[in-house]
Amino acid sequence: MSGTDLLDGFDLAALPGASAREAASARLRAGGWPTRRDEAWHYTDLAAGLRGFALGPAPAVEVAAELPEGQRVVFVNGRFDAARSTAPDWVGRLGGAAADTARGGVVVALNTALAEDGVAITLAPGQQGGTLFLVTLAAGRGETMPAIAPRHRIALGAGATLTLIETARGEGSYLHAPVFEVELGEGARLNHYRLQDESGEAVHVATIFAEIAGGAGYESFTLNRGARLSRNETHARLTGPAADVHLNAAQLLNGTQHGDVTTVVRHDAPDCASRQTVKSVLAGAARGVFQGRIEVDRIAQKTDGYQMNQALLLSDEAEIDSKPELEIFADDVKCSHGATIGALDPEQLFYLRSRGVPAAEAKSILIRAFLDEALEPVTDEAARAVFEAAIGAWWREGA
């Protein structure tokens, strides 16, 4: 798909906020989908992944799903489903159009051009939001590939707290390209848990921008197990002193799936800490990608940055590509990263087998143990249950 006809299937002029959409779509048309020639997309060829698919607007459809108990917001093909949502009053919706943002690349430009809906969460200073589920459902049943591009906004006032559990599921072929804009006031805490369990034919490209003020904490864990092609790109910026961020993720991929976890943590204030643990388990001919960059500004003294990324290759055709970067301009810092790639340890397998554990179970025990470090910060019970179920299902479906 060339840059010029990317948006041919859309009537942007008919949507509100035409000027922002125009500007963004001009950028998208000029750049086209990223290819491996774009350094930020060196290991994920989105252009190739979308080649041969005609994008079109996402139609209003009904998608059946089992919904979680409690506070929840349901989106179907990018539209708010009021009937099935049980949203508290601090949850609103994107009004009309998303503001144009200079941040991000063409995927964000696509989102700006197409965004019509999205959740807008605003917590007042000190407000305790409890746990909120964000259920996104999608379906691609027609000739064109629906482009679903919600713009979500989460703003927590000083000292406010929220646990957001997002699950993305669907059927058929579609493109889900959500953008999250997270803003945390001083001392606020957001636990952001995301399960990407899209349809096996879908393409999922999520972008998360998080601005974290002094003393605030952004705790995130993402599990990638669905979609034929997926990318989760997080840009976390620590803007005030003593803030902290956890960007953990795990990927469980099989068949010919391609999964990409990309993070950029920017330390723009002193005394902040960032922690990242990303684990990939790759079976079949799956390909996993991890790109992580820690940037430390000159003023961000006493930064403590840590990044660990590990991959297990379970088959002969699986592939992992990893690019952990450090970009450091302050001297009084402690930054490190580590990466390991390997197979399941035969000695550990032997240990379990010799104690009577069947081979398949032994493998699953070891893989579960491998993932544990990434899952560790997920303390919320509801979130844990979601992830444990997804990991169990992946295993049962035959890793």
Partner: protein, 483 residues
Amino acid sequence: MPAVNETIETVDRISGGGYKFGFETNIEMEFAPKGLNEDIVRLISAKKGEPEWLLEWRLKAYRAWLSMEDPAWARIHHPRIDYQDLHYYAAPKKPAPKSLDEVDPELLAMYEKLGIPLNERAALAGIAVDAVFDSVSVATTFRDTLAKAGVIFCSISEAVREHPELVRKYLGSVVPAGDNYYAALNSAVFSDGSFVFVPKGVRCPMELSTYFRINARNTGQFERTLIVAEAGASVSYLEGCTAPMRDENQLHAAVVELVALDEATIKYSTVQNWYPGDAEGRGGIYNFVTKRGACRGRNSKISWTQVETGSAITWKYPSCILQGEGATGEFYSVAVTNNFQQADTGTKMIHLAPNTTSTIVSKGISAGRSNNTYRGLVRIMPRAMNARNFTQCDSLLIGDRCGAHTVPYIESRNRTAKVEHEATTSKIADDQLFYCRARGLSEEDAVGLLVNGFCRDVLKELPMEFAVEAQKLLAVSLEGSVG
């Protein structure tokens, strides 16, 4: 914190000492006109009396170069280089001398000043020195001893004349003529360089050494080095350089190719101390080098060790292609940048065959307003069963105006391969500094000691003569901090 301030001052003062090896020697030069075109390539080839195939090879490289863009992906910044404003051929006017007696006394005096008295050093240290003065080799020693062992060690121009079949077989076989922008440029206009051939089963009886010199103003230098170790052979090669002080930026685009056959070992060590520019970032050498080794044979081994302290800009990625089963690649590097220096350096380890192993140890030290980047690639291909890589990249920051960056690419396509990578960035620890100071070491000595300790894993890989020189170099970098 006074300790920190003192350290910063120390580093500021490093430049105050000035560049120790900055002076110029006046030897009459014979220049080709400025600029680059096919005629210049033909002229270089003709001046060297090269055979037709080599001229064709150069022209092919030149045409490839014309169609290429200079790479923009490295973290380096410099004004656009006007390739038409350079001389591509410069040689001392006198014909090449047959013995040391014939060597220009002024040249010998220059080596004296650098602390490398050719004859003495060669005699004392037992090292054969193929000294490259600009473009033409002017002195080669210990040829007899090497000849007895069957080792060929000569300038590449001489090798083209005396051993054309060997040169033709291996030249460009590791770094093809059109490999990258600077390699293509080098292939088109390479002036001279060293050629080493160690035949089957021979252990080279001495460490081979070449001192590269850049001397003529406005003369880009395009060295070409080719080292071949046949089955079971082994050789250790030392490369070191210093350059006179000058204001204009100088381009240096060398190519080094190594070929190791079955069970062969090549150890290539570099101490690079070219003029880094002054404290304001004026002048200095642009060092854009392509170094690559092919481990073609079973259990062959190529080991790169480098200590990079000089040059305004370093763009250099000594790499290993592990083609033979059980082959080993190693990369040990210390890169020091100060003032406005920029270094973007690292390695590539390409694992193609089963049971191949590679080790990368990189130590970067940034001070002043410099930027120091490690950029590396480890790639495990599907056939590389049980391949193994270990990578360690550490960066040390001295002062808060510099930058340290790590950009590793790690790609594995084999389940049985094991890859480990770790990287750290920190400053000199206050407690370590305090420990040394409490035991009566001056601030400068303490920093020197800690920096040497930080680099130890790399320095210990250097041959003894070089290890001493390298430690001295690091010490020179810390010079001027007393009082």
